[in-house]
Amino acid sequence: MFVIMVYDVEVKRVNKVLKTARKYLYWVQNSVLEGDISPAKLEKLKSELKHIINEEKDSIVFYTFRTTRYSSREIMGIRKGGENAII
């Protein structure tokens, strides 16, 4: 499935969250990552993040799609990052 992850955490933990998320998803722009991921891997990612964040102060949002067929993606301005199988 396709996942968009958006996070808003305190500065202290920003790097840790980014670092963890980057193992699973592609960085798109500040605080946003996305990518195709299996449900199991998503759970793994969530549990890893759970140990990092302070649930009282931080927030992470996951948008999941079974397929991206009914969605479209548009970028205004520069493309900062994202998925690319060919480097």
């Binding site: 980057r22 998803l25 480097i87």
Partner: protein
């Protein structure tokens, strides 16, 4: 589905922040380790032991191709699915002549069957291929008469010769004529495409074998000798017509690949970087494309189809169900 990463630019690949990091002249990029199964390297990259260790831990295979797109070799991490039982079974089927011949015959039979499917497709579109198909069919009927693997290989070669003759009729394009099959180096554009496509397929299959208990070093149709891998060559026979050849027809008939995508190198002709990029991109798309699987009654990708094929082979080796090669239905 885990993905494949293709690296065409030059740079350094290393481990950073517990994930894979690529830094090249065109920029830097983090690659999610958890979502990758293999990396195909076409550019000139620098690696260190740390990344190899890390890739090994995460069961990611690195395939290297040289400057001209020829396969150089793979970093095949230590087997993570070890099974002495499977290796013994595989060796048993290799050493017992009867058993080996049976498997080899099935591979050849499957390969020819798929070749016929490709031909049929174009026959239905009015290309005069009936004679070629007839010749191939006659050869196929003599598979049972082959007494050893060498004869089978020869038979398969002959069938392929007939088949390749049909390429000119199918393509009907003066820029891409077949003439004859040439390798090392390929002497014309079509041969370059076939060679490149086949070597890509070999590596893809090798990656899939890594995910099973099978040992890629023991093949059945292709003799196991001092070459590194041969099982992937066996399986490739079945998939070449339906994956590589079909892709080549699409690329040429749709005018996607052009004369300008090739360059002369020594005596041969090879794809240039742009051509390789295009081919790899389309191949990746094709491997991800799904078809409805008759038995499983669900959609599976071509890549998964290869893995299913390996599972069938495992079943055969364990004497559970006789192996039946995958035959395209369309």
């Amino acid at each position: 589905m885990k993905r494949t990463i293709y690296i065409f630019s030059d740079g350094e690949l290393r481990r950073k922040q517990n994930t894979i990091y690529f830094e090249g002249e065109k920029g830097r990029k983090y690659i999610p380790v958890e979502n990758i199964t293999e990396i195909m390297v076409f550019g000139e990259i620098t690696i260190n032991k740390r990344i190899l260790e890390f890739l090994s831990q995460n069961e990611i295979i690195l395939h290297f191709f040289n400057h001209y797109g020829y396969y150089t070799g793979s970093f095949y991490p230590r087997e993570h699915l070890n099974s002495g039982y499977m290796i013994l079974k595989q060796a048993e089927h290799y050493l017992d002549n009867e058993k080996r011949l049976l498997l080899a015959r099935l591979f050849v039979w499957g390969a020819i069957e798929n070749i016929k499917k490709v031909l049929n497709y174009y026959i239905n579109r009015g290309v005069e291929l009936n004679e070629i198909k007839e010749n191939i069919k006659n050869l196929q009927e003599t598979i049972g008469d082959c007494k050893n693997v060498e004869e089978l290989m020869a038979l398969e070669g002959n069938a392929r010769d007939y088949y390749y003759k049909g390429f000119d009729l199918i393509l009907n394009n003066p820029d891409f004529v077949f003439e004859s099959r040439t390798r090392r180096p390929p002497l014309n554009r079509l041969n370059a495409l076939i060679s490149f496509g086949n070597s890509l397929l070999y590596t893809v299959i090798l990656s899939e074998i890594y995910k099973t208990h099978l040992d890629p070093r023991i093949g059945f149709l292709h003799t196991t000798n001092f070459r590194r891998f041969s099982l992937n060559l066996d399986i490739a026979e079945i998939f070449k017509p339906i994956i590589v050849d079909r892709l080549i027809f699409t690329l040429i008939n749709k005018g996607m690949i052009k004369k300008t995508h090739f360059e002369k190198h020594l005596n041969g002709i090879v794809l240039n970087e742009k051509g390789r990029l295009l081919f790899v991109e389309e191949m990746d798309k094709r491997l991800k494309a799904t078809i409805k699987h008759q038995k499983l009654r669900r959609n599976v990708s071509y890549r998964h189809l290869i893995k299913l094929e390996l599972y069938k082979l495992e079943k055969h080796l364990m004497d559970e169900t006789c192996y039946q090669p995958f035959i395209a239905r369309w």
